[in-house]
């Protein structure tokens, strides 16, 4: 235990028992999209179809990755579920309730950490609690536990400017988890991080999810990252935004990045996704 940043998420021995417990008691939310379309108006007045008639059911507690190029509507999908935008047609339902505005069971991690620089790490994590006008004291202990789990114990009084990019994104994840959301939405959360930090974060997110057992929708444009993390992989393509492939990723967990590339299944899944992008002309062979 030389490095605090490599905290509990990584200590495999402790995890196994917790994983068993969490899978017996799924805390995830069920997500259903019915015929959801989203059409934007461009400045010239043309219709831009960001999502076209998407129907999708996400099982509670599953880790769903959504991979596709820019403009394929994956971020639109996330904004719909976060209640930030309304669909043009169709319904978005989380645990039986239609999403009309921000849903209390949803936590979001954005591409940039979006920490408030004038607040300490702890105050940043407690921001959702303040906004929902809940008692701060009830959540402080949980916030400190979350920090410990992401290897940032003792950093609660620091300011974001004193942390590295990876640490800041960990704090953003803690903030999304503070109210134990049934659905965690992650919008290219590691896109701004360097390769090594990113690899560590991917590993840590798997740990976090195995422990918490919530439903995760993880959006990325990195095929390897998506295959590594997903139970279920949605491959999307743009104009109009559609789901081209709905792939079940069947590989045992915890997955290890050290040997995942030697796994023939991993290579097969990655190839399947690539073939779609090549067929669509997104990747040129």
């Amino acid at each position: 235990m030389s490095v605090p940043a490599a905290g509990t998420w990584m200590s495999d021995g402790v995890q196994t028992a917790e994983i068993a417990a969490s899978s017996a008691d799924p805390k995830g939310a069920a997500v259903r999209l019915q015929d959801v379309s989203k059409i934007y108006q461009s400045r010239q007045g043309e219709d831009i179809v960001a999502l076209e008639r998407i129907s999708l059911d996400i099982a509670p507690g599953s880790f769903v990755c959504c991979v596709g190029p820019s403009g394929c509507g994956k971020s639109t999908l996330l904004s719909l579920l976060a209640g930030l935008i309304a669909p043009t047609t169709g319904r978005t339902v989380i645990d039986g309730a239609e999403v009309k505005s921000a849903h209390p069971k949803v936590g979001v991690v954005f591409q940039s950490d979006l920490l408030l620089y004038w607040r300490t790490v702890l105050d940043n994590i407690l921001l959702p609690v303040e906004i929902k006008k809940l008692r701060r004291a009830d959540y402080e202990k949980h916030a400190l536990e979350l920090l410990e789990q992401v290897g940032l114990a003792g950093f609660e009084e620091k300011y974001p400017s004193e942390l590295s990019g990876g640490m800041r994104q960990r704090v953003a994840i803690c903030r999304a988890l503070i109210q134990e959301p049934g659905l965690l939405l992650m919008d290219e959360p590691f896109g701004a991080l360097d390769a090594l930090t990113r690899e560590q974060m991917i590993h840590d997110v798997q740990r976090m999810w195995m422990r918490v057992g919530n439903t995760v929708l993880f959006i990325t444009h990195d095929i390897d990252e998506a295959v590594f993390l997903a139970d279920r992989l949605l491959v999307m393509s743009p104009r109009p935004g559609r789901i081209d492939l709905d792939l079940t990723i069947d590989m045992p967990r915890p997955r290890q990045q050290s040997d995942i590339h030697e796994n023939p299944n991993f290579a097969r899944y990655v190839r399947q996704v690539r073939e779609i992008f090549e067929a669509k002309g997104i990747l040129k062979a």
Binding site: A5, A102, G151, S164, M167
Partner: protein, 274 residues
Amino acid sequence: MSQEATVAVSPGTEKKRQVKKPRGEPLLERFSALILAAFILLVWQVSVPLSGISEFVLPTPWAIASRIVTDFPLLISNAYVTLFEVLAGFGSAAVIGVPTALAIFYWRPVERAVYPLLIALQTIPKVALAPILVLYLGYGWAPKITLAFLIAFFPIVVATVVGLQSLDKGLVNLVRSMGASEWQTFTKIRLPAALPNIFGGFKVAISLSVIGAVIGEYVAAEQGLGYLQLLANSQFDTTLNFATVVMISGLGVMLYFILTFVEKKVTFHRESAK
């Protein structure tokens, strides 16, 4: 991960190092401004008698300083008058300017109607209004406070609007995803993020307010530092004139530092803004 690890092992060292850094600088560099100022004053002090210029025409810094000491009651009682005008003018500019900026930011029609008008009015040199203000408002406090207000208003409005507009849109989405109301978005995100800009506007405005008040006193007054200067002029009292200039700049510097102090208390230290 490795670069995080080095930071993580010793949390806090980064910050301490930053704080300590200036102390490591050579003395000459740290006090370079003070040393230069002292040098200029020294040259001034020495060259007046050497050049044969009469102290009546150009008093030495020492003469000015001793005059400030001997005539301190006179100077300070007039300084209080000017200070009051500045504070009243600046205060009302802040109290009216910040809400005006909020209205411009939140309501499109206000932005469309008021903002261009404000910018057009800004092209009028405010000091040119001083004689007119005297005409309407008389010889008392009112024209000075009005001038200090007019000159301070615009920078406060513009700085506040810019501060509100420059907010990262992602932050708005973040708090909306938490279910924040528009009021909460304002108090938790917009206002704290705009505070450094608002204080930037305040600092420009307070220095301008001093100019406004003094100009107002030049035009017509019975008290205040501007009035005292005119009095000294009429009596060919150059030393008192210079002493008053020192008092006016002292007033500006003092107000500026008070604002900086308040800013540090209210907002988070700026260097970590990005």
